[in-house]
């Protein structure tokens, strides 16, 4: 039985540079999850997050001919996504719009059963807690703890020193611990 070979990023990028939409589509398929984790972590699960996701890939498509592979595609995309998110958060601040989660706080059933803490609800709890952080703290938490980038990669993506990443991580986790305390105690 023969298996179809999975094309590498370089091959797909080369295809997209030749204008092959199918190759570009495969790249999107490959990195949608990564970009979604970053954008939804930063903005929350909203229509804007979807728009920023689309904008991230459109910028990749527009700039694909200039992409020389000097950094990993994943890092390149995350950088675009995080910058778009920070711009969106600045815009919201300018417009004095506060983030309002699309869904209400999940209700705890009387028995406090494990069912409350299914993945979806836990995501909502975490995302609500993340919205309480300032963007500069939120971005390090999303990149380091949700996306799983190393501290060096996080520093590279945000264009800040590693020491700054570490201090922001410490402060952000201290703040998050307060917001997430009730849930942490329950899942421990």
């Amino acid at each position: 039985m023969s298996h179809a070979r999975i094309p590498s990023d370089e091959e797909l990028v080369a295809g997209a540079q030749r204008g092959e939409l199918e190759a570009f589509g495969k790249l999107v398929e490959r990195y949608e999850g990564r970009v979604a984790a970053t954008v939804i972590g930063m903005i929350g699960d909203s229509d804007e997050a979807d728009d920023i996701g689309q904008e991230t890939f459109i910028r990749l498509y527009d700039g694909i001919k200039r992409f020389r592979g000097e950094s990993k595609l994943e890092t390149y995309l995350t950088r675009i996504a995080i910058n778009l998110c920070l711009n969106e958060l600045k815009r919201r601040k300018r417009c004095q719009l506060l983030f309002i989660p699309s869904s209400s706080t999940p209700e705890v059933d009387a028995t406090g059963q494990e069912s409350e803490y299914d993945q979806r609800e836990r995501q909502q709890i975490v995302h609500r807690a993340l919205q309480q952080l300032k963007p500069r703290f939120r971005s390090v938490i999303v990149l380091r703890l949700i996306d799983g980038y190393s501290t060096e990669e996080t520093a590279h993506i945000l264009n800040i020193p590693v020491g700054t990443v570490l201090s922001r991580l410490a402060r952000a986790q201290d703040k998050l611990k307060k917001h997430l305390q009730p849930w942490i105690s329950q899942i421990q």
């Binding site: 999850g33 984790a37 836990r122 995501q123 975490v126 703890l145 849930w183």
Partner: protein, 132 residues
């Protein structure tokens, strides 16, 4: 728990600790109260890791590719219609210029249309600047 110890706890996950910090960490973790704090931090980080949403709304790729195709279609339409309009205006301007040239020359010929002056053989041989 003091702030310095909290920083050591956090750094133990994200950076390489110095010898002093390592000693401080081991000593701190031998106390039950600190151990609880450390475990809370581990639980929170696990909770955060598990909170990654790995997809946008349904049909994200299809919607994106459709958007790209519609951009391309828009550009093609611009070439077909808007550019055609610009070209038409250009052709009309050229025709008006030709009419003006012909009417000011007083005769209908290709040279008149393009406002070319006709030289006689004598003028050419004498290398004279014409009409001076």
């Amino acid at each position: 728990m003091n702030e310095q110890l909290h920083n050591v706890f956090v750094r133990s996950f994200d950076a390489v600790l110095t010898e002093d910090e390592r000693v401080q960490l081991v000593r701190a973790l031998s106390e039950a109260e600190n151990r609880v704090e450390y475990d809370r931090l581990v639980a929170m980080r696990t909770m955060l890791r598990g909170a990654a949403v790995s997809a946008f709304k349904p049909f994200f790729i299809e919607r994106l590719l459709q958007r790209i195709l519609s951009f391309q279609e828009e550009f093609r339409r611009w070439l077909l219609w808007d550019f055609r309009r610009i070209a038409l205006v250009g052709i009309m301007s050229a025709c008006l210029l030709v009419c003006y040239n012909v009417s000011s020359h007083g005769s209908i010929s290709l040279a008149a249309a393009f406002a070319q002056r006709e030289y006689t053989l004598e003028q050419a041989l004498r290398l004279e600047v014409p009409f001076q």
